[in-house]
Amino acid sequence: MFMAMVQDDQKKRMDQQIDENLRKVYQRTLEEEVPERFHDLLRKLKDQGTPE
């Protein structure tokens, strides 16, 4: 019972560590500059697009 609780706790901490690293890796991509081609594309779509 106690050991199971300790193991649960360890698992939880490991999951937290994994999620934290996940966020860091994800964040690194998030912080990359968005290529200008996407903004150009949005402008082009807007210019040719069906105004609402």
Binding site: Q10, L22, V25, Y26, R28, L30, L41, L42
Partner: protein, 203 residues
């Protein structure tokens, strides 16, 4: 029209100002970096990821009528992105017979373990996970969507998202050598001690 992104300013901040110009579709720009990050985690290839984002932008723009105002735009965009990704992946598989195998082989090597968890090692281990697990972990673990949101986006029950995320975490722990080796051993030893104690008394 002035460029959306001023030099030096964080992309998010300036993207948000762009969203104020009236057309609700302008808000798509706010989510571009998140879309890229999600696309990279699915494709594991920056070039393919940018192509995926580009296609998603066009699809989102031209099908914007199907977006329900007031709902989560990022979730809507992510859904389009992932559906397109799976469609393309099926096509690729059909053409080459192998969409994942070559990539998996390139990454088959275990990351060098020097006692601390290098982010690069982590990214490499993450890339080895099956796509369903990567998707679940990015949506729930990294992007902060709820299991229910992620379930809607991936068209599976929330319990499935949860078990995919958990299996992904277990696999990552395994690949990175984070398993509770020592503790498990201790537990085993303790268990064995108890068991053998009982055993002896039985003898």
């Amino acid at each position: 029209m002035t460029p959306r992104r001023a030099e030096g300013a964080p992309p998010d901040a300036t993207d948000k100002t762009a969203a104020k110009s009236g057309d609700p579709r302008d808000e798509i720009a706010v989510h571009l970096s998140a879309m890229r990050a999600f696309a990279v985690s699915l494709t594991r290839d920056p070039v393919a990821a940018d192509d995926l984002v580009q296609d998603t932008i066009v699809k989102a723009w031209t099908n914007f009528a199907s977006f329900r105002p007031g709902t989560n735009l990022r979730a809507w965009l992510f859904t389009i992105l992932r559906n397109h990704f799976y469609t393309m992946r099926r096509k690729l598989r059909h053409e080459t017979g192998d969409a994942d195998g070559a990539f998996a082989a390139r990454l088959a090597e275990k990351p060098a373990h020097d006692g601390r968890l290098a982010l690069r090692d982590f990214a490499q281990a993450f890339a080895q996970l099956p796509v369903e697990q990567r998707e679940a972990l990015i949506l729930v673990g990294a992007s902060g969507f709820t299991y229910e949101d992620a379930a809607r986006m991936t068209c599976v029950p929330a319990g499935t998202v949860k078990s995919r995320a958990n299996r992904g975490r277990r696999r990552l722990a395994e690949l990175l050598g984070l398993e509770e080796d020592e503790e498990m051993e201790l537990t085993d030893r303790a268990t064995r001690a108890v068991m053998s104690g009982h055993g002896r008394s039985g003898l």
